[in-house]
Amino acid sequence: MSTASTIHRARFDRVSLEFATPKGTLRVVDDVSYDINDGDFIAVIGPSGCGKTTMMSMLAGFQKPTSGKVLFDGHPVTGPGPERGVIFQEYGVFPWLTVKDNIAFGLKLKANHVPVAERDQICEHYLALMGLSDFANSYPKHLSGGMRQRLAIARAYAVKPQFLLMDEPFGALDAQTRANMQNLLLKVLATEGKTVMLITHSVEEAIYLASRIVVVTARPARIKEIIEVPFAYPRDESLQERPEFGELRSYIRELVMSEYRAQQAQLSPASFSE
């Protein structure tokens, strides 16, 4: 797949991960290999609890593989860093800071070198972009779940990481806001040229946004199939009306459904008695 001209931003090289639990070791990621090239948009899709977040957290630098290597810019990942922005599944909005101070948090850190004079303007920009301007001085306890999620997105975008790791970033949003956020992300990518790894449960979202879709199996997460999305950027919503979109959607849905069924079979009481 990779030619001499493509640059590997990140690489999973025969990566496996096991957790030690009271009931013994739990294999969560199993022999996963794929590359993420500069400018790629990778969507990861698979049944709940299969190990997607775990896979991402190895690249983010919070978890070490039990075997295999996770490389970023050619070096093994040793910890988190601001060049890899993360939007967490649990948002992680700081409850003790106002909405605006949450966005400003990253801008005030030494590592990001944002001049004091520009911080306010950047904050205002993302507040407006995320529809949070009216709540700039509120504490997160006054925000809805979807607003907290948008705040987490704004905070991650504000420091302009080259590589974005997004764990179900639009999961709590209504269909309309979700579409807005997707289009906004496409726009940000077109102007800022980022590389993205996105975890999602929505097949439509994966096809609409990604350049490549990694379908993973039920736990332990193995690669079931990697699908090149054949649509060129820039994309807009009319894409979703095209017959090719529908065909690809049916195909991927069937892949995901078969893994979902496999997971249900694993969980059913019958399998415990064996």
Binding site: A60, G61, F62, G79, P80, G81, P82, R84, G85, V86, F88, E90, G92, F94, P95, W96, L97, F105, G106, L109, K110, A111, N112, Y139, P140, K141, R155, A156, V159
Partner: protein, 256 residues
């Protein structure tokens, strides 16, 4: 707005009125020897007398000062120790049995030893109050700190925060609520220990006043002392709650 303030005031006042009524009731019921229960108005009269003639304020000041200093020193030590224990799991395994051993000892039992090592002066009383505040504070701190989720630290790291920035901008804000709770718990414990600490040859102080009164069977003085301790503890707790509410506006609270 005004109505609700008045309502809250009345609601807060009602149990006190009830307590005084009950007090009179027990006294007049005839079940208890009247000489064993001074009436509320007699206690009030004694209060005024002590205030004007015996320098009750000196006792109040001496006790409040002891409690304040004991709690401040105790918490100043408990915050870093409790923090380290809560933060580093190995430290907890190491120190937990030790802490629980000392915490279980009643301060009164230590008085003879404290007298041997620290004499009978102000220092000895402070040591007792320090001891009580410290162990109460340490437990609260380490329970609280050990429950801080790593999520916020991870978020800060992915935004580019260094070690020191994480400490200053994430860990401190998350620790403040636990420091305030530790202070409140320690204040309660310290007031509860005050009388014991003033068993050590105290000249002045509410605890000393109560003990001297008990030698002469001055029940009304004892009542005045007890009520004073309760009132000051209550006021201190109210002030601390105000400060907490100010500092912790961001916290989600279940408010009925």
């Amino acid at each position: 707005m005004d109505g609700s303030v008045a309502r809250r005031f009345l609601l807060g006042l009602a149990p006190w009125v009830g307590a005084v009524a009950l007090w009179y009731g027990v006294r007049w019921s005839g079940f208890v020897n009247e000489s064993l229960i001074p009436a509320p108005h007699q206690v009030a009269a004694k209060f005024v007398e002590l205030l004007l003639k015996e320098g009750l304020l000196v006792d109040v000041f001496a006790s409040t000062r002891r409690v304040f200093l004991g709690v401040m020193l105790g918490i100043a030590a408990a915050v870093p120790v409790g923090f380290l224990l809560g933060w580093y799991r190995p430290a907890r395994t190491f120190a937990d049995p030790m802490i629980n051993f000392f915490r279980a000892l009643p301060p009164i039992a230590l008085i003879p030893l404290v007298i041997v090592y620290f004499g009978v002066d102000e220092m000895a009383k402070l040591v007792i109050l320090f001891y009580a505040s410290f162990f109460a504070g340490v437990i609260v701190m380490y329970e609280g700190v050990s429950q801080i989720t790593p999520l916020y630290i991870r978020v800060a790291q992915t935004l580019g925060a260094g070690e020191f920035e994480i400490f200053r901008k994430v860990i401190i804000p998350l620790t403040v609520p636990h420091i305030l709770t530790a202070l409140r718990v320690a204040l309660g414990v310290a007031w509860a220990t005050l009388v014991a600490s003033e068993l050590i040859a105290a000249q002045r102080g509410l605890g000393a006043m109560i003990q001297n009164a008990s030698t002469y069977f001055l029940l009304d003085v004892i009542y005045v002392g007890i009520i004073c301790i309760g009132c000051i503890a209550l006021i201190m707790d109210m002030i601390l709650r105000r400060i907490s509410a100010r500092l912790l506006v961001w916290q989600e609270r279940a408010v009925a």
